[in-house]
């Protein structure tokens, strides 16, 4: 009851102001009247009686204000009034409002869009139970950071004291066939027994794997992902219990996971899960790295404790197996953070650059406010003279800032929403997902709100504080000019402009580094021709292609079928097309040379190929011969090496006829060199882990996973169907995936760079635009303030050129100082970026010079426009205005 009355009274205070004010007025008038009557009765004259009553009463207006204070929620009431006032003021100067809101919308929009990306990728809730306890385990070595060898994981699982649950994950692809339908390639996530129990998500339908189902022989069960179940089986509820053929093996569907369990941030989207049954041979492999690992920490164990335990295990392994583990280690990262960039540095850098755009926007706004406040100094002086407190004045100005930045924030959210539509499509492509959800959810809106409020505080407080220091006497006496502390205000405005210019140079340089770095990379001579190549991935199921001979027959028939297709000049099979590097590498030593210490052998990338590979790729055979049909199992084991390796291992002798071997002293596996080819380079990888490359005939090594590559005389994209038909002529059950041209492989793999570059360019252009706008504003204001002076100068005979120079000089001085600071920032940024992407981004004087020139040109333009106006000042008008 009491509360209700209170609320009613307060709301009454808010909304029935005028009525309550009138009542207060009436009450006090009566009081004065009664007091006057009393004084009259005491014998005073009417004038004296009234005066005495008024005197006793004190300041009526102040009293009213103090009474209003008692109504409570006064601040809210005043805030509403200030807000309404701010809106009125903005409507009065629509030009200022438009520029300010646009500036803020740009700054907040860029940041909101960036944030929604991070929100979707990093802050996206992990759909697993108690995700804070989940960690991802990486294998580290001086050359790599990533997947593990099976034997290492078996040891970690057995020896660790810190994990409550531990799961091993393999990500192969399989041909999946529904009986009676053509086979298709599916992304499989093969997981060890603990996986589902560790993640703690119950299935939508059926069940998940039991503990014994990761043993060989019991592993013919699969669990479907929601998206695959919907896509392939249209959400058929009767799917559980059905049998599908995975690589020809019958597999029983035992469950379907819920939609939320699709979490592509870890390792892309999976179509289905199957048990990871490692046979004894694979479990012993220590020199091949392809497995992923996830673990759940024991409740009492912290991340550093777990890391320490793994370091101990890594130390033990490196002593036991120096050949493979000498310099290996393990790195633990919380699953929540590990999705994209386990070390997070890159994310922070991008967010930092986005924040720089917002800072520039803030500096601009602060400048605009300063300029506006100098025009309103008289208004402030009057308000202060009428008894407004400084605090009250500042608060009112901050309310104006807040109204502005909330409007700008709304514009920014709209802009971000629009940008996200465009970004989502490209992200889906980069992550190889059907769709990528980049939503503006409550968290993104919250971020935009916080950014808007913080922006208001950042650009509002300084100008408001300065404006409130107005000298009341001077302000009321004079007619507008020189009312506030002009000098300090001008100094502040200069500092803001200098900051803006330096930040924009840093932004420009940041984008420039990437663009130029990638341009240089793209222009590099790679040593092979990427045009007119059509490629596809194939995975021959081990049950039907169990030995080298069966595989070899398949390659040969496929090459024949494909070469017969009109438009195909040549068809070859290889382990991998070297667009982004090779899959495999191994240590090599030269026969007869002293063997280096274990682990110190020269590392060579290795590819396995069919004859004709070098010709198909446009490589050069510099010495010796290509592989031929006679290089088959039983014939001498042969190898073709690149020139770099030949020069390094045999600087003075012919490499032909020499032999190279592996790192294992008991098992060298000598290979005879029959040819030397040129080195091939990879796209986007300026510093490969090694420049040594060797090639083996795939006929001697076998291999169930490979690429088929066709050199075409027509557009390779036009032969996609022909390639698929050629494969099915060889084996109708065989699926083909990723039938694309080499250039498309490059475009797909490079799409992340494309996104990065367009993001950076957007930021750089926004920054440049904003700081040019800011500089223009400051110089234009300067011209307005000095109109009289310029008029006098012209009247006294100053030349046009000297007037232009007078104005230009002011702006250029700021530009030069800003750019000097910016150069330092650009240098630091290059160092930082260089550590993320060595070889792609580094100190780049050309880019810095170009960006400086661009910035200088833009500032020149921004100063020249007002300077020209200054030169056109009519001295008579200027002097009369005084």
């Amino acid at each position: 009851m009491k509360l209700l009355r209170k609320i009613r009274s307060r709301l009454g205070g808010l909304f029935c102001r005028s009525r309550r004010d009138a009542e207060m007025e009436a009450e006090m008038r009566l009081h004065l009247q009664l007091r006057t009557e009393r004084n009259l009765a005491a014998g005073l004259s009417p004038e004296e009686a009234r005066a005495a009553a008024l005197q006793a009463f004190g300041g009526v207006e102040q009293l009213k204000e103090r009474c209003r204070d008692q109504w409570g929620w006064r601040w809210l009431d005043e805030f509403a009034r200030d807000g309404a006032y701010a809106v009125r003021m903005l409507l009065k100067s629509p030009g200022f409002a438009a520029v300010a809101i646009f500036t803020l919308a740009l700054g907040i929009g860029v940041n909101t869009s960036m944030f929604s990306f991070f929100n979707a990728v990093i802050f996206r809730p992990v759909p697993f139970a108690a995700p804070e306890g989940l960690v991802r385990l990486y294998h580290t070595s001086p050359r790599s950071f990533g997947p593990h060898a099976p034997a290492d994981l078996v040891d970690v699982k057995a020896q660790n004291e810190v994990f409550a649950k531990f799961a091993i994950v393999d990500l192969p692809s399989f041909s999946l066939a529904v009986p009676g339908e053509p086979a298709e390639q599916v992304n499989v996530c093969a997981v060890s027994g603990d996986y589902f129990a560790m993640l703690g998500v119950p299935p939508l339908l059926g069940r998940v794997f039991g503990p014994a189902e990761d043993q060989p022989g019991h592993d013919r069960v699969i669990v479907l992902s929601h998206q695959y179940w919907m896509r392939r089986f249209a959400g058929d509820a009767g799917i559980v219990g059905r049998t599908l053929r995975l690589d020809g093996e019958p597999m029983t569907v035992i469950g379907v996971m819920p939609e939320a369990f699709d979490y592509p941030m870890l390792w892309g989207s999976s179509d289905l899960w199957k048990p990871l049954a490692m046979n004894a041979n694979i479990a012993k492999v220590r020199d091949g790295y392809w497995l992923q690992a996830l673990a759940r920490l024991k409740p009492s164990v912290s991340l550093p404790q777990a890391q320490a335990n793994l370091d101990t295990i890594a130390g033990r392994l490196s002593r036991e197996y120096p050949l493979t583990n000498a310099q290996s280690g393990f790195y633990l990262a919380p699953l929540v953070k590990s999705a994209l960039d386990p070390e997070q540095r890159f994310n922070w850098m991008i967010m930092g650059l986005a924040a720089a755009v917002l800072l520039i926007a803030c500096a601009n706004l602060a400048n605009l406010q300063l300029a506006r406040n100098s025009g309103r100094a008289r208004e402030y002086a009057i308000r202060l003279a009428l008894g407004a407190s400084r605090f009250r004045l500042i608060r009112q100005m901050l309310t104006e800032s807040l109204v502005l930045s909330l409007l700008g924030g709304a514009g920014g959210v709209l802009g971000a929403w629009w940008a996200n539509q465009a970004l989502a499509g490209r992200l889906a492509q980069a992550f190889e997902l059907p769709t990528f959800r980049l939503s503006v959810d409550s968290r993104v809106l919250g971020f935009a709100l916080v950014a808007a409020v913080a922006t208001a505080a950042l650009f509002g407080v300084g100008p408001a504080w300065l404006a409130s220091r107005v000298d009341v006497n001077a302000g009321l006496k004079q007619a507008g000019r020189g009312v506030t502390g002009d000098r300090s205000r001008y100094r502040l405005r200069q500092m803001l402009i200098v900051t803006e210019l330096s930040l924009s140079l840093v932004l420009l340089a940041g984008a420039g580094y990437f663009v130029h770095g990638l341009y240089k990379l793209a222009r590099r001579e790679l040593g092979w021709r990427m045009d007119h190549l059509l490629t596809a991935r194939l995975a021959l199921p081990a049950n039907r292609y169990g030995d080298v001979e069966k595989c070899r027959a398949f390659y040969e028939r496929l090459n024949e079928e494909l070469a017969a297709v009109p438009g195909v000049e040549r068809s070859v099979v290889c382990d991998i097309l070297p667009v982004f590097g090779f899959y495999n590498s191994r240590g090599v030593i030269a026969e007869g040379a002293t063997a280096p210490a274990a682990g110190q052998e020269a590392l060579a990338d290795i590819n396995t190929v069919t004859p004709g590979y070098f010709a198909a790729l446009g490589m050069k055979i510099l010495q010796g011969r290509d592989f031929t049909a006679t290089d088959r199992p039983g014939a001498p084991a042969v190898v073709i090496v690149n020139q770099t390796l030949a020069r390094q291992l045999w600087p003075h002798e012919s490499p032909l006829g020499q032999r190279i071997g592996g790192p294992d002293p008991t098992h060298r596996d000598w290979l005879e060199v029959v040819g030397v080819v040129n080195e091939v380079g990879f796209n986007f990888i300026p510093l490969p882990r090694t420049h040594l490359q060797i090639y083996r005939p795939i006929a001697q090594t076998g291999g169930n996973y490979f690429s088929v590559v066709a050199r075409t005389s027509v557009a390779p994209e036009s032969l996609v169907g022909a390639l698929r038909r050629a494969v099915s002529r060889v084996d109708p059950d065989q699926a083909v995936s990723r039938v694309v041209s080499a250039e498309q492989v490059l475009a797909l793999g490079g799409s992340e760079f494309g996104i990065l570059i367009s993001g950076l360019l957007t930021m750089a252009v926004s920054g440049l635009l904003l700081s040019a706008l800011g500089l223009y504003g400051v110089i234009a204001q300067l011209v307005v303030e000095r109109t009289t002076e310029i008029g006098i100068r012209i009247a006294l005979g100053a030349r046009l050129r000297s007037v232009v120079w007078l104005v230009l000089r002011q702006g250029l001085r700021l530009a030069v100082v800003g750019m000097l600071l910016g150069l330092a920032g650009a240098w630091a940024l290059a160092r930082l970026l260089g550590s993320f992407m060595p070889g792609i981004v580094g100190q780049d004087p050309l880019v810095v010079a170009g960006c400086s020139l661009l910035l200088f040109g833009v500032t020149l333009l921004a100063c020249w426009l007002p300077a020209r106006r200054a030169a056109r000042v009519d001295p008579m008008v200027a002097l009369r205005a005084e």
Binding site: L30, G58, Q62, R66
Partner: protein, 108 residues
């Protein structure tokens, strides 16, 4: 006439006490206090009205427009139930303090 400042915190007590006799308008409240204190205490308008608004806000008193003795419209304040309770509390507190101060003055 010598003016005596009101002890801080006692204005509420006096206003509530005066109102316990029946509804009064602002001027009458000030008058009553003045008269009842034998012209010793003067309530400044600058203190009275904010206090009245505050107590109204707290729900100790409520206001109603009515006719004053000379037929003029005036805002009459009246004690509420909570106001009566508050008056009892404040009187008790005052008695305790007065007693304590008296003790000190007598014995020190």
């Amino acid at each position: 006439m010598e003016k005596t400042e009101l002890l801080s915190g006692t204005l509420d007590l006096l206003v509530l006490q005066v109102l316990s006799g029946g509804p009064l308008h602002g001027f009458a409240i000030a008058e009553q206090i003045h008269v009842l204190s034998r012209d010793v205490l003067t309530v400044e308008e600058g203190s009275l009205y904010p206090a009245l608004y505050r107590m109204e806000e707290k729900g100790w008193i409520e206001a109603e427009w009515g006719q004053s003795e000379k037929g003029r419209r005036a805002k009459f304040y009246r004690l509420t139930k909570e106001g009566r309770q508050q008056l009892a509390n404040e009187r008790q507190a005052w008695d305790r303090v007065a007693l304590a101060i008296g003790e000190v003055l007598r014995n020190a």
